[in-house]
């Protein structure tokens, strides 16, 4: 077992040590929090356990093929032999035992790492509301009354509770170095809980194809120390724009973060990122419930459609 784990750790090291990891970490093989770390451990453990079933195949197939080759007339040949009680027990038994062990583990870790499960911590949790739009992410910090496009900044060692939805087609939200992904769906809310134990920049992305700008829907997750985080909050609160219904309608049109920034003429924040100094109350909820009012929403008022018109969204009750 140990050797196997070493072997595979070395293999993953090969992946892990690739040059790009220097800047933005984008894989759970380089975890920055306990969840991703547990996921990596789980992966390696499965690798280890399944080897018990797999290595025999890898050893026996070449050996048997060679030893019992047609030309080796000295090898034993038993054309009628087709059963063996002992082999039968082994063949069914060993995989059953492995699957049982892995199942027990699966039950435990799936509960522990359930994305809906709040993370126990003395530090109060930070709430972030996420709205997936076509080819960018809108992050709302309801407790701080700010919002950003494509910039998720969180304090270190603080549990973060995400509530997620989308105002277009389905997307999937993943910050691999911190935790696994969760779908965002129109008119529905999903949840995700993460905690980062290291500062740094980690890539977040949408993994569910949603049109031509799909590959641009990535963002930096910046984990800051508590004091830096406060400074960052102050910086955003001083931004030039506030998020209004009108600006949201513009933002919601299919565009990448950089295009949206240009369309809004925003000047604060890094490239491709928009900071909003304030957010109307209940923004997230109004997006979430938009599709639930029971009236038909024409395509022109659905962000992401071919016919979407920002001004149709502004007056929701036409």
């Amino acid at each position: 077992m140990m050797q196997i784990r070493c072997l595979f750790s070395t293999l993953t090291l090969f992946v892990v040590l690739s040059p790009a990891f220097a800047q933005t970490r984008d894989s759970f093989l380089q975890p920055a929090g306990p969840i991703a770390d547990a996921q990596r451990t789980e992966l390696l453990q499965i690798l280890g356990w399944t080897m018990i079933a797999i290595i025999p195949v890898f050893l026996l197939v070449p050996l048997i093929l060679w030893h019992y080759r047609y030309r080796n007339t000295s090898a034993r040949y038993t054309p009628e032999w087709d059963r063996s009680r002992m082999l039968e027990v082994l063949m069914w038994g060993v995989p059953v035992i492995i699957v049982c062990i892995l199942s027990a583990q699966l039950v435990r870790t799936t509960h522990d790492l359930d994305p809906y499960r709040p993370i126990a911590s003395d530090t109060p949790e930070l709430r972030v509301q996420v709205i997936g739009l076509d080819w960018k992410w809108l992050f709302i910090y309801p407790d701080h009354n700010i919002a950003t496009v494509n910039a998720l900044t969180i304090p270190v060692d603080t549990p973060v509770a995400f509530e997620l939805t989308t105002d277009t087609v389905m997307q999937s939200f993943l910050i691999s170095s911190l935790a696994g992904q969760i779908y965002t769906m129109p008119g529905m809310q999903t949840q995700l809980h993460v905690i980062a134990t290291e500062t740094g920049t980690f890539q977040g992305e949408n993994t569910q194809f949603n049109g031509i700008g799909f590959t641009d829907q990535k963002f930096d997750t910046t984990v800051l120390s508590n004091s830096d985080f406060s400074a960052w909050l102050a910086q955003v609160q001083a931004a030039d724009l506030s998020l209004t219904e009108e600006r949201y309608a513009t933002l919601a049109a299919p565009s990448t973060g950089a295009q949206a920034k240009a369309a809004l003429a925003s000047t604060s924040g890094p490239d491709g990122v928009v900071y909003f100094a304030s957010v109307p109350d209940g923004m997230f909820e109004s997006v979430l419930h938009r599709y639930m009012h029971g009236n038909e929403i024409p395509a022109s008022a659905q962000p992401g459609t071919a016919a979407y018109q920002p001004n149709a969204l502004e007056e929701p009750d036409q």
């Binding site: 639930m292 009012h293 029971g294 009236n295």
Partner: protein
Amino acid sequence: MTQPNAKLHPGLNLGHHHGEAHNQAETVVFGFWVFLMSDLILFGLTFASYITLANNMGMASGPTPADIIDLVNVFAQTVLLLVSSLTFGVASLTMRHKMPAKVTIAWLGLSLVLGLAFLGLAALDFLNMANQGAVPSRSGYLSGLWSLVGLHAVHVTAGCFWIMIMIAQIAVLGLHPIVKSRVLRLGLFWHFLDIVWIGIFSIVYLGGLL
């Protein structure tokens, strides 16, 4: 090989006194059963998606079951379909007992009339719903309802055409072995639609009103 009275396939068998026709029916009728199983899955899943949509969210503030269900009409439809199943059963028996082709045709014709009457009432029901604005484009719930009931109605329509064709075939070809086996299969289909309808009646209509 087979026992004289052994059934060759589930359901009504022609019986050994039909000779070759009885044996030929074995494979085709069995095949038709398998087809019905597949069709049943289709209905089952349509039911399942209907059920997921028959709630407040799926109704989207639109018409609710109480607004649109006309139980009298639906009950009449149920009776028509059940009776037509009965008359079809009689048609099959007349064939099994080698009564004259005319008799079989008459019973088939009666089943057809009842089937058409069922479709007429169903159309009326759909029309009434549409007049109240309960069209499938109004809500997920109505989409589910129209598609489930509609899927059944399409089946009944196909069944009615099939009865017409069988009447024509009996008239033209007589009770040829292959024609007999087709009538057997049509019978299975017709009874199957009855069972599905009972499901619709209980889940969509009675369940909707609860």
